[in-house]
Symmetry: C2
Subunit: 354 residues, 2 copies
């Protein structure tokens, strides 16, 4: 049980702001931890007040399971956007990266880099959203760190989250495991996250009803693995760079080609329209609640059915096949029956989308 | 084996700079990973090219060991200082936080938040230093992430490192475990890191021969535990806020007081002089290669001997005792025989020291 020092007055969440002392490791930092982070994330590991969290080994390890670790910096701008905010995004993003190994996510660590002058109310809102996302996913934030940089040396708030998880015995998901003949599935419609964030940019502000798809996908992955087992070869979430980049990454890692059918790729009409307005291709726009699954052909139907019976996979679709291709090209049959190469994202159409 | 896309030309480490495309997740990001991070950190986990690293469970877990996780954002300014730089600091800092649980550090994750315009040569120098520190410590960097923010929205480079480790069975180090009568040890002289960084600040630049003490302490911890076993109750590295803040944290967590003897606290004469010049108290100045150990009285001599026989603990000293104190005060007998309270750090004497 930590013993509270007698702070002169509680943090002023109405009109207070972050100052350099909140990052200096002294009394102000301890107060911020007590009155904001500990209350929001409340769990036994954090309450211990150590510089690290210790926990028992998960039972899967005794049966030959493996551990998995993933980290992601989150610098999305603006901090709040339709359907989400930096807080839930940084929880979902890291849970998903852990889950894409076929793992059960166990714990999260969070590192905050805060710009001096950030309203305490903004920080509290982001932290509350993180806490909610973490509770809903059942993956606690067990350790963390806070640094403060001078005004003009940051941009409000950056959060790096790191997750650990356990891969059940027998599961071997790997970006290098795709084979010619495999089937490519996506778990739903593409491009909502990117468009929702862009709709809020000062220089681009436009009206849209599109909301970010940000969501934790670990239960969807668990259902998929239960249905399709070792037939699931690759899982990856098409975030920055979108579906096109993710498919190119997998093709390169596995040393294969891919052939996608544009008409089969699910995109909401509003996203299609917004992308036309912005001069973007939805295939390159970021998602935060979708996955690409490459499956053996004999489990593809079962895999698709498992995705579709989960609320986060209702619009799942079979979009293409893995091919033999020494150039590792991703090719696409367009809606008009033509064929084109879907290249890597080049340049920077969508900075700070996550 | 990742298949390299045919980049038009290799990265220009001589005069090139980071631009927004390096953070967009497309071809430029993939090239940065291939030609910088993969080459520097080279290990089988990174080479897999997945968004996460999977590894076998360490053998200690089968005997009842526990896992431990710690994260730290590093925003030190300037990036290079006498005795170190952001790169080795972010490796040592997180290894130390993991080691302070009595753990064997296993793996690191690294998340880079880079300001647009950072010279590629600067990034390469920092990354080389990280790679060297990681290799020397035997703790590989197995997964990572890179984001780029616009010029003026960051400050060159921030790196968050997260470590996982394994606590051997039977080891139960905890900030709440100090008991009245226990002995307080430090592993060496205090204040070098903070003074070394401050000596490089534009507004403060002064000549000094003081070098940062940045170092990985996991082998020192292993030697200490081998000598003093379960008699080691608390370990903590006195970073931000210095020894004074660390002792106050432990006193608060354990619900005890402490009594320190100023004459026994080792401080180099040059650090003493620099602190006088800067108006600082060395007790509040950050260290990056020192630890505080609270030990049961019957193992204190063995613990001190173990620290002193390790190269990183040669100047270790017994500096005080744990007392019963309902106010959880840290008190100090000064060199002149007086007694004063060593309070928490308040305010912000040393921003961005780590």
């Amino acid at each position: 049980m930590p013993v509270r020092p007698d702070y002169i007055r509680p943090l002023d969440f109405k009109s207070g702001r972050i100052d350099m002392s909140h990052g200096a490791g002294g009394r102000a930092a301890a107060q911020l931890i007590d009155e904001l982070f500990l209350r929001a994330f409340d769990n036994p590991w954090l309450r211990q007040g150590n510089d690290q969290a210790a926990f028992e080994a998960p039972p899967e390890l005794a049966q030959g399971g493996r551990l998995v670790m993933s980290t992601d910096g989150h610098v999305v701008s603006p901090l709040f956007f339709p359907g989400g905010d930096l807080g839930c995004l940084c929880v979902h993003g890291t849970i998903n990266d852990v889950a894409m190994a076929g793992a059960r996510p166990l714990y999260l660590a969070a590192s905050f880099i805060i710009e001096e002058g950030l309203p305490l109310s903004t920080l509290r809102d982001v932290v509350s959203s993180m806490a909610r996302a973490s509770r809903e996913a059942g993956v606690p934030i067990v350790t963390g760190d806070t640094k403060v940089v001078e005004q003009g040396k940051g941009d409000g708030l950056f959060i790096t989250t790191t997750g650990v998880g356990v891969v059940p015995p027998g599961v071997r998901i790997d970006g290098a495991a795709a084979r010619p003949g495999d089937v490519v599935l996506v778990s739903g419609t593409l491009g909502e996250h990117g468009v929702a964030v862009l709709s809020q940019r000062e220089s681009l502000a436009f009206d849209t009803t599109i909301r970010s798809d940000t969501a934790a996908l670990h239960t969807l992955v668990a259902d998929l693995l239960a249905a399709a087992g070792a037939g699931v070869r690759v899982l990856r979430d098409p975030t920055r760079g979108g579906l096109a980049t993710t498919l190119n990454e997998i093709a390169r890692q596995s040393g294969v080609g891919m052939h996608i059918d544009e008409a089969a790729v699910p995109v909401l009409p509003d996203v299609e329209a917004a992308c036309e307005l912005l001069g973007l291709d939805p295939l390159y726009v970021a998602n935060e609640g979708k996955l690409v699954a490459v499956c053996a052909p004999d489990v593809a139907d079962a895999a698709l059915a498992a995705l579709r019976s989960h609320p986060l996979g209702a619009a799942a679709a079979r979009i293409g096949v893995v091919t033999e291709d020494p150039h590792h090209f991703v090719q696409m049959t367009t809606r008009f029956g033509g064929r084109r190469i879907v290249d890597w994202l080049t340049g920077e159409p969508l900075p700070r989308i996550c």
